[in-house]
Amino acid sequence: MTRHVLVVDDEPDMRFLARRYLERAGWSVEEATSGEEALERCRARRYDAIVLDQRMTGMTGIETAGQLRELGIDRPVALFSAYLDPEVEQEAQALGLRTIAKADVAVLVTVLDEV
């Protein structure tokens, strides 16, 4: 069965990159360009996993994840961050997010396979 993932990033090239990696691994990929758009899409349909960039214009990845949880959406979320601060890491852990260093797109596939 095809698994569906939502990739949320305000950088078109990063969305493209994540899409290429995930499609090669057999995922069906949809994209959102902001946290706000991600919330809308998640209300409309169910994803097997959600990949969030931490630093975006508008809501951050952590903020978006927090709101997803409030909406009762408990799908696994992976958080991309350019540099994993202990502060970001702590907040992510509290929300049960998997964190991935942005420089390491290849890890994304491994992480999502584990969820």
Binding site: Y83, P86, D104, V105
Partner: protein, 347 residues
């Protein structure tokens, strides 16, 4: 012109500098009464010089700093030598104090003390600005680099390894990865400078796997001799960080030595595993060994080799933060051995 005349002229010439400098200059009498003070006091502390001349310097000092500064002032007047640099706080016209680094020098007749106080807030501010700038730039470089590295990997996976274009893309990918390591270094550096902890995610790690990965990064440049004790226990370390450190050591070895590089993992004792990176390069003079791990140190043999001088400084910090050690021993003319030790996972 007589010597005295020349001296008088110099003193006259020096006058304007008194008010030009942004540092706080004060002339005190032997009791600490302010005889003169330059205009820098206004932007620094909010006083006008006239308000303070004739008052006691000791009242301008933070109460907690008086004893230490008085002791130093006594020493200056007794010995006639310039003071050491002391850190002290001076009272602002409106609430609070400001930190300075101050030093003083007595007049030959010990009737006057000349002091200079350099604003520390501005320095701290400048250092913080530098760190934030460095962190910001490095941070912003991560995303484009991730795209280059990632897309190159896709092209390589789809391409024909025998083709010319594959070789070109492979080079782009490797160069981008080495730039990425550099950016990571700057981020680490800015955290270390800001006294913030490094980001570490230790877990039990098979060091031979990490060694294989690192050797794979450099195999196209040099031959390697890799060895490991059988049944080596896992160590407790952040695997990405161990890779970062070993890549740094191996890239140094490759830079400075034409011969094969040896990478050997062995069990040091019950609780410790050690990894040696051994080259047959020019080696390091005894005197230089200590400096090697200082920030911005470039080896004497570095010549035109590229490098930031941060690699070993950060590598040591990364390993020590995980209860390990990074040391070097070297014989000039024969080569160097860098040794990483790490605690085993059960320890």
């Amino acid at each position: 012109m007589a010597v005295n005349e020349a001296e008088a002229l110099v003193v006259e010439d020096l006058g304007p500098f008194f008010d030009l400098t942004p540092d706080l200059l004060t002339v005190l009498d032997a009791d600490g009464v302010i005889v003169a003070m330059n205009r820098a006091v206004t932007p620094l502390l909010g006083w006008r010089p006239e308000e303070l001349v004739g008052t006691s310097w000791w009242e301008l000092l933070h109460p907690d700093d008086v004893i230490g500064v008085k002791a130093e002032a006594r020493r200056v007047l007794v010995t006639g030598e310039p003071s050491r640099t002391v850190e002290l706080r001076l009272r602002r016209a409106v609430d609070g104090h400001r930190w300075f680094q101050a030093s003083a020098s007595p007049s030959p007749d010990a009737q006057r003390v000349y002091t200079i106080a350099v604003d520390m807030d501005a320095r701290v501010e400048a250092a913080r600005f530098r760190e934030e700038l460095l962190a910001g730039i490095s941070h912003d470089m991560q995303t484009p680099l991730a795209a280059i590295v990632g897309l190159a990997e896709i092209l390589l996976a789809d391409g024909d390894p025998g083709s010319e274009s594959w070789r070109l893309v492979d080079t782009i990918g490797r160069q981008a990865r080495s730039l990425r390591r550099l950016v990571q270094q700057f981020l680490d550096y800015s955290r270390l400078e800001a006294d913030r902890p490094l980001v570490l995610r230790p877990r039990p790690v098979d060091v031979t796997q990490v060694i294989d990965t690192v050797v794979g990064l450099f195999e196209h440049t040099r031959s390697f001799v890799v060895g490991a004790d059988a049944g080596l226990p896992p160590v407790l370390v952040d695997p990405d960080r161990l890779e970062q450190v070993l890549a740094n050591l191996v890239s140094n070895a490759v830079k400075f030595s034409e011969a094969a590089v040896r990478v050997v993992a062995r069990r040091a004792n019950e609780d410790t595993v050690m990894i040696d990176v051994v080259d047959e390069g020019p080696g390091i003079d005894g005197g230089e060994v200590d400096e090697l791990f200082h920030k911005f140190h470039r080896g004497r043999n570095a010549g035109s080799q590229p490098g930031s001088g941060l690699g070993l400084y950060i590598s040591r910090a990364v390993i020590e933060a995980q209860d390990g050690s990074l040391t070097v021993s070297s014989r000039p003319g024969f080569g160097s051995r860098f040794r990483v030790t790490l605690p085993t996972a059960h320890a």
